[in-house]
């Protein structure tokens, strides 16, 4: 009984500290934002505005009040679930984010699928061929994928697969012909097009997502394959594997039915962490592919000084990262007490 209580208490403190972390994140961002020499007022009024217009707009946006007052106001609004209004577009930040976030989620999810589908088999392969040519080859391939600047990769991909071969769709999430024709259900185009039964639209959205997802996926492939390899090696050196081999089981059975099964949970946590990492890698990909997603939104807001949007984005990303870390730590705690 006391063990459970202790566990619950530990989780309570954990959640409290998470809350503190998020608050610290907000303070940091807020401070950066107000200290930045990027002036959102100028973006709105234009560089040739006179002083009276400038001051008027500044007051309208509440940017002339002292820093602490502004922060207090923001936290107050946040407590009521209001993320504020974008300084530049006038839209509610929550609306903006709800619009752009699914695009990135779609991209990152597909990328993680690609990364896992390639990375896991490669990692298992490398583990089974440890020290030999296969192992080295896999290492170089996956590391090469991770070492290539993702924006360069993206440009080359666009050049080869769109401009020269015409296999992949161009920029954006779907062909222009379908613009506005798909009713928004989840915001994930692959899902929405299937939902509406429009097969051509579905095919078009697949075409458009394939290239950026693969490139992004290749990046996480390296990490996933390395981790898989290292987990598999740890398993393969255990006694029960030796016992299985002595029993006469085939190598394939040993690898897949025994060793691999046991690393699935660890893999899950790794994939979760890689997923979080993809959310930021998407920033560069979204720029090259004009993908109207979260990364692009954050970068533009940052460069134009639209701090309300940036704060909202940071909060969201912070929550995601923290959640993913919590999940992975929880899974570790449950399944591998040795790591505590």
């Amino acid at each position: 009984m006391s063990g459970l209580k202790k566990g619950a208490a530990a989780w309570r403190t954990r959640l409290l500290s998470t809350g503190a972390t998020l608050l610290g994140l907000l303070v940091l961002t807020f401070f950066i934002g107000r200290v930045m020499p990027i002036d959102p007022v100028l973006a709105i009024v234009g560089p040739d505005a006179d002083v009276s217009t400038y001051q008027q707009v500044q007051a309208q946006l509440g940017l002339d009040r002292p820093l602490l007052v502004q922060f207090g106001h923001y936290i107050g609004e946040l407590a009521q679930g209001n993320l504020g209004t974008s300084l530049l577009t006038g839209n509610a930040v929550s609306d903006d984010i709800a619009r752009v976030f699914p695009a990135t989620v779609e991209l990152a999810t597909l990328a993680i699928v690609v990364g896992t589908a390639l990375g896991v088999p490669l990692g298992v392969f490398a583990a089974s061929r440890r020290g030999r040519l296969g192992d080295h080859a896999v290492r170089v391939i996956s590391l090469a994928g991770h070492s290539t600047p993702v924006f360069w990769f993206a440009m080359m991909g666009l050049l080869v697969f769109y401009a020269w071969l015409g296999w992949a769709g161009g920029s954006g999430r779907i062909a222009l012909a379908f613009d506005g024709a798909i009713p928004r259900v989840t915001g994930l185009l692959l899902v929405d097009t299937l939902w509406s039964g429009n097969w051509d639209a579905f095919a078009s959205s697949v075409q458009h997502i394939v290239l950026p997802a693969c490139i992004l996926g290749l990046h996480s492939m390296a990490y996933i394959s390395r981790m898989t390899r290292s987990f598999m090696l740890a398993q393969l050196s255990q006694e029960y594997i030796l016992a299985a081999r002595v029993k006469g089981l085939s190598e394939a059975a040993v690898i897949w039915r025994h060793a691999f099964r046991n690393i699935l949970v660890q893999l899950l946590t790794i994939v979760a962490l890689a997923y979080g990492g993809l959310l930021e890698g998407a920033v560069l990909i979204e720029t090259v592919f004009a993908w109207p997603g979260f990364g692009q939104y954050l970068t533009n807001s940052l460069l134009l000084g639209d701090m309300n949007s940036v704060m909202g984005c940071v909060l969201l990303v912070g929550i995601i990262f923290v959640t993913l870390n919590l999940i992975s730590d929880a899974l570790y705690q449950v399944f591998d007490p040795r790591m505590h």
Binding site: I38, D39, V45, V51, A163, A175, L176, D179, G180, Q296
Partner: protein, 534 residues
């Protein structure tokens, strides 16, 4: 082997994805698809929307009282106003509006809507009130000066003597001159904001198109308004697509996925020149790319140093290597093509001459300085080239790239040494538009904070030039006015003004050959009502 199966499955999935491709269809015949960078489209409110991109949108959602002929900007053509009359004392303009124009909402457009739209601009005092404030209008006098004696007559009384042609130009080119549907806008008003919040993302006009949907930084859809007073446009729909990467845009126009590509980078335009499926259309604009010095800096307050810097710009090299498709060589502070504009004085790179001047001024070994510039081409390229030529005379310049806010922000605060930028007014095709924005500086004190004048920002203050600018715009005799503007340019040359133009801006648009009737407008108010595709 298990792996073989896996790889087979993966390649099957890939093949499926590729084969699912429908044949690349060209864009529909009744739709014009425009690819552009929509990052600067922040608001559609005619009272507050800044930037060049919004001009093209507003010009097609709304009507103006007059229009300027794209082939000769000084020709003013009737639009909502059938005719107009400038009072003999030049203190007022009376416009007669035509009958039978309906807004999208179905209401008839009257002079009351026109007057209200202009009042609104001044009352809100946002960015687009500037041209009107420059004529002396304000939120207190707007309602008395701009009146609608009856439903078809609009009377604009000028608070200060000025050239009425300027006011007409503003009525034809400025976003603020769009005529709004007063009742519809007021119906969406919140807290007495005169519809400002609603108009950020909506439109209430009488133009040939209506706003169907706008997803910020993604796409904008305009549909044809069949009740347009000139008759329905030929296109059923205009789609604007956000394509921030010039390279992607180039692929798209090459493959026919867009019909019109705007704002592409010079190397991509250059490559498309040889593409038989597209046409490259350059349109000259009124603003210039320039190098600006701050006379607050003791070094640049010295005329010899300014003259040396003028000689350290490689005009020919820059215009030959960097400016194609971005601009055309131009060295005068007044835009090219106007009667008053003098021919270029022929400045050239002259390192030896510059070194001599610097030595005379007391800097034989040069000095260190900073160049603030926007990170975008061609400005950053001009700055980089400038850095190299300055180095030849011993001037060690470090480049501080930034966004528009940062660069122009520091200019407005008078905290800069050198800025390479783009601007200089010139929305109205009149020398006054350029000179007022670039040179005029009636009060050089820091406290005056005339941040809307580049002359003030650069601390360039010259009494004779100021007086000439003030008098010329009031001058009734055309020939005398011309002579005055010429004198200003000559004075500016001999006094070595703070801002040295290098090239006049050119906006290059790439069109598919299927598009007809597209005439790029130098004031960015390109009309799409007559565009059609074959």
């Amino acid at each position: 082997m298990h792996f073989a199966n896996l790889f087979k499955w993966l390649s099957l999935a890939l093949a499926l994805a590729i084969s699912a491709a429908p044949a690349q269809a060209a864009t529909p015949r009744d739709q014009l698809v425009i690819g552009m960078n929509m990052n600067n489209l922040l608001s559609l409110d005619p009272a507050g929307a800044t930037g060049n991109d919004v001009l093209g949108v507003v010009a097609n959602l709304y009507d103006y009282l007059v229009e300027l002929d794209p082939h000769d900007l000084t020709i003013v053509k009737p639009a909502l106003a059938e005719k107009w009359e400038i009072a003999p004392d030049r203190n007022s303009i009376t416009l007669t509006l035509r009958d039978g124009v309906r807004f999208k909402s179905g209401r008839l457009l009257t002079a009351h809507d026109a007057a209200w739209s202009l009042h609104r601009v001044l009352k809100l005092n946002l960015a687009m009130a500037s041209p009107w404030k420059s004529y002396g209008f304000s939120k207190t006098n707007a309602e008395q000066l701009i009146t609608a004696p009856d439903a078809r007559t609009l009377r604009i009384a000028l608070p200060e003597p000025t050239d009425p042609k300027m006011v007409l130009y503003t009525l034809g080119t400025s976003v603020s001159s769009a005529i709004l549907d007063r009742d519809t806008v007021l119906a969406h008003q919140k807290n007495g904001d005169l519809g400002a919040a609603w108009l950020l993302t909506h439109a209430a006009g009488s133009g040939p198109f209506v706003l169907t949907e706008w997803r910020a930084k993604d796409a904008m859809l305009l549909d044809r308004y069949d009740g347009y007073w000139r008759g329905p446009a030929k296109l059923r729909r205009v789609v604007m697509r956000h394509v921030p990467e010039s390279l992607s845009l180039r692929f798209m126009i090459d493959r026919g996925d867009v019909d019109l590509a705007a704002g592409m980078a010079a190397p991509d335009i250059e490559a498309l020149k040889h593409d038989g499926r597209v046409v490259v259309q350059p349109v000259k604009r009124g603003n210039t790319y320039y190098v600006a010095l701050s006379l607050k800096d003791a070094r640049y307050a010295d005329k010899r140093v300014r003259l040396a810097l003028r000689k350290l710009i490689d005009y020919d090299g820059i215009n030959q290597a960097i400016m194609p498709h971005y601009g055309v060589a131009h060295q005068r502070p007044v835009m090219s093509g106007l009667a008053a504009t003098l021919p270029d004085p022929g400045y050239k790179l002259d390192v030896a001459g510059a070194r001599k001047l610097l030595a005379e001024a007391g800097y034989p070994n040069g000095f260190r300085t900073t160049i603030r510039v926007l990170s975008d081409p061609p400005m950053i390229n001009i700055a980089t080239a400038l850095q190299a030529t300055l180095a030849q005379a011993g001037i060690d310049a470090s480049i501080l790239p930034g966004t528009g806010n940062q660069v122009y922000g520091s200019m407005r605060d008078r905290k800069f040494e050198i800025v390479v930028g783009r601007g200089g007014g010139g929305v109205e095709p009149h020398p006054h538009a350029n000179l007022r924005a670039m040179v005029y500086n009636p009060d050089n004190r820091d406290e005056a904070r005339l941040t809307n004048f580049q002359g003030w920002r650069t601390s360039f203050h010259h009494d004779a030039i100021n007086r000439l600018i003030e008098q010329a715009v009031r001058e009734r005799d055309d020939a005398t006015q011309l002579a005055m503007y010429r004198e200003v340019q000559q004075l500016y040359d001999s006094e070595v003004g703070a801002i040295q133009p290098i090239a006049q801006m050119v906006d290059t648009v790439v069109l598919s050959r299927r598009v007809h009737g597209y005439v790029g407008h130098p004031s960015a108010t390109t009309l799409l009502r007559d565009v059609y595709k074959e």
